[in-house]
């Protein structure tokens, strides 16, 4: 049974507050998430960007209870998903939420569909699980939503097996499956990374359009700033399990504050003038078994000072843009930094 929500700030789809999580291993605990707070309003589209392994997926998988049981430990924080505190729910309670309240679209469409079951059956199984409909109605819903995903001949596609479809088609089926029970929140975890560039834009538009039309909140997870920049209202930048910057997409992209965000944007080929050299961030992502002291980015940061090495910076700033960096102090207006590049 679903637990009904209580005392929720109106309009919040997902509120992750100060979530910390670690993976215990032989060599010690890997601190995968440290004090992560993310909020997503109803019908809002939010992006989380960062390098692979920075904890983007772990955050959302923890929030939806999809991390492998017994292999992780939540060390602090809360999650409210439309009023349900998912961290304390058991598996069957979560199963009631997933697909109905929150859906996830994963990165690899190749293996994300069951190879021995026809497409139609996989869709109707989900629909009949959450909606009070019979097989015929479920098929009709599935057909409509496939058509909405710009799949020609949905009836034919439903009779096929996954291996008979291209990667782009499979991803459309998965998106259709995610939307099929009209969830309030969709988590799109690198939904286009494995696809051709030409298909990517189409797929992203499909998600965005459908979400806008149905008032569904979406979290886009990507390592590619360019991908999310055109879709999202707000952006979170993650580094090594921490949020380092957060704000309205335009603000963050146009006036990036955190040295990491700035470096990340300088790496984008699209943003570099022709013939200008592409930049790479020196150094490597820290080992989270033995994370550096203070700011996690400090070993790679050109601007690091003593305080960066000794104390962990907190997210500060107005709602429009927050940054966790000692060199961008509270209320320091940013005259010489950032600006239009």
């Amino acid at each position: 049974m679903m637990t009904t929500g209580t005392a929720e700030p109106r309009g919040q789809a997902l509120a992750i507050n100060n979530l910390s999580l670690e993976f215990p291993t032989f060599s010690g605990a890997v601190k995968a998430l440290d004090d992560v707070s993310i909020s997503v309003g109803k019908a809002e589209i939010v992006g989380i960007v960062g390098e692979s392994g920075c904890g983007k997926s772990v955050t959302t998988m923890a929030a939806t209870g999809l991390l492998p049981k017994g292999r992780y430990r939540v060390t602090g924080g809360t999650v409210r998903l439309f009023g349900h505190s998912t961290l304390s729910m058991d598996d069957s309670q979560l199963q009631d939420l997933r697909g109905k309240v929150v859906s996830t679209i994963f990165q690899e469409p190749m293996n994300a569909l069951n190879p021995t079951i026809r497409i139609g059956r996989q869709l109707t199984d989900v629909i009949m699980r959450h909606e009070e409909v019979g097989p015929a109605d479920a098929r009709r819903i599935a057909r409509d939503i496939l058509a909405d995903m710009l799949i020609g001949e949905p009836e034919r596609v439903m009779n096929l097996y996954p291996f008979e479809l291209s990667g782009g088609m499979r991803q459309r089926v998965l998106i259709a499956m995610a939307f099929s029970c009209n969830p309030g929140l969709i988590i799109a975890d690198e939904p286009t990374t494995a696809l051709d560039v030409t298909v990517q834009a189409v797929i992203l538009r499909l998600i965005q359009n459908r979400a806008r039309r149905t008032g569904t909140a979406v979290i886009f997870i990507s390592h590619n700033v360019a991908v999310v920049s055109q879709l999202c209202d707000r952006l979170y930048v993650m580094y090594a399990g921490r949020i380092v910057e957060h704000g309205a997409t335009r603000t963050v992209l146009e006036t990036p504050q955190h040295p990491y965000t700035q470096a990340l944007l300088r790496c984008l080929p699209e943003r570099v003038a022709p013939k200008q050299e592409l930049e790479a961030i020196p150094g490597a992502v820290p080992n989270l078994l033995q994370p550096p002291s203070g700011c996690y980015f400090q070993p790679r940061c050109k601007e690091a000072v003593e305080q960066c090495r000794s104390q962990t910076p907190q997210l500060t700033g107005a709602d429009g843009q927050q940054v966790a960096c000692w060199r961008r102090g509270v209320a320091v207006e940013l005259p010489e930094q950032g600006g239009r590049r």
Binding site: T64, L66, D91, S92, L94, Q95, D96, L97, R98, G99, K100, S103, T104, F106, E108, M110, N111, A112, L113, N114, P115, T116, I117, D125, V126, R129, H130, Y161, F163, E164, L174, M177, A178
Partner: protein, 337 residues
């Protein structure tokens, strides 16, 4: 069709296999240190009698000629004459085969019914107490000396508590039903002989379970391994992320895919089953091929041993061919192309 492309080479291999077995069995029976003529004629036979026996068996002709005759006979279904029973080996095998098939079928049925659920539970509750128990049971099965297990069960259930019979297919005094299929359980039912059915059922429980136990271990292990493989596939994550019920995910989404690689194993398990049947039959005095071949081994009845080897090999290869076909039919990726 993809299927013909796969079957034709297999049929060619089958031909070679049959020829190969024939060569092997022929070579073996001509390399034996014991002298079959001496075996038949007895220790005190004169040189002349021995010579006569040799001539009758064709043992005096050149080896190549003997081999040609041997192959020719094989092609006509003639497996030679048993030195012990003095009957054609083929006829002997026809007599004893159904008992073995019945035992094997019952054992396989028990093994699958117990092994598959155990393997699924073991994988789903990996590393939990259920898994540890299931794995212990499965390793026990795989490591069980069949002949010893049979003895122990006979001691407990027959000698000690006298709950179940310990040998044969029917109780003494019960007339066997007329032979239709050769399976006593089926024949007795067909003829409405419920006394015979009851007796046959009681008699097959112990040997059936002994033979099933080892195979159950293999099946459990295989199902557990492929379930673990499947459970970490992306499509299971998709199913979980879309909120499907646990039972549906396990049985409709995971087990279906885990069974496909397990089908091939079934063919291989039949090899173990055949071998286990030889030992089980010996222990339970089950009048089947196993008892026949072990008695033949003990009396150096080489035509019988080789006849058994040929029939068992061809049967094994054929069954594996069928199993591979089943595998292809189960996998839509092969079936639909």
């Amino acid at each position: 069709m993809a299927i013909t492309r796969i079957i034709v080479p297999r049929l060619i291999l089958l031909l070679f296999v049959v020829l190969g077995v024939a060569v092997i069995t022929f070579t073996i029976s001509h390399l034996i240190p014991g002298d079959p003529a001496r075996m038949i004629a007895g220790d005190r036979a004169s040189a002349e009698t021995l010579e006569n026996v040799r001539r009758n068996l064709g043992l005096d002709r050149p080896v190549v000629e003997q081999f040609t005759i041997y192959i020719g006979n094989l092609l006509q279904g003639d497996l030679g004459t048993s030195l012990r029973t003095n009957r054609p080996v083929a006829a002997d095998i026809r007599t004893f085969l159904p008992a073995t098939l019945e035992l094997g079928t019952v054992a396989l049925f028990i093994a699958i019914c117990l092994g598959v659920p155990l393997g699924v539970l073991s994988a789903v509750y990996k590393d939990g107490p259920i898994d540890q128990i299931a794995r212990t049971v499965s390793v026990c099965g795989i490591s069980m000396p069949v002949f010893w297990f049979g003895l122990i069960l006979i001691y407990v259930f027959y000698a000690k508590f006298q709950i179940l019979p310990g040998s044969g297919r029917l109780a003494m005094g019960i007339v066997a039903p007329e032979r239709i299929t050769g399976f006593l359980l089926i024949d007795s039912l067909l003829q409405g002989r419920f006394d015979a059915f009851r007796s046959a059922l009681y008699h097959i429980i112990l040997p059936g379970f002994v033979l099933a136990f080892a195979n159950m271990g293999v099946i459990t292990r295989q199902i557990r391994a492929s379930m673990l493989d499947v459970l970490q596939e992306d499509y299971i994550r998709t199913a979980r992320a879309s909120g499907l019920r646990k039972g549906m995910i396990i049985f409709n989404y995971a087990l279906r895919n885990a069974l496909i690689p397990s089908i091939t194993l079934l063919g291989l398990a039949l090899g173990d089953l055949l071998y286990g049947a030889v030992l089980t039959e010996t222990i339970f005095a089950w009048p089947g091929m196993g008892t026949y071949v072990v008695t033949s081994i003990q009396t150096l009845d080489f035509p019988a041993i080789m006849g058994f080897t040929i029939v068992a090999s061809i049967g094994y290869v054929l069954i594996n061919l069928l199993v591979d076909l089943a595998y292809m039919l189960a996998d839509p990726q092969i079936r639909e192309v």
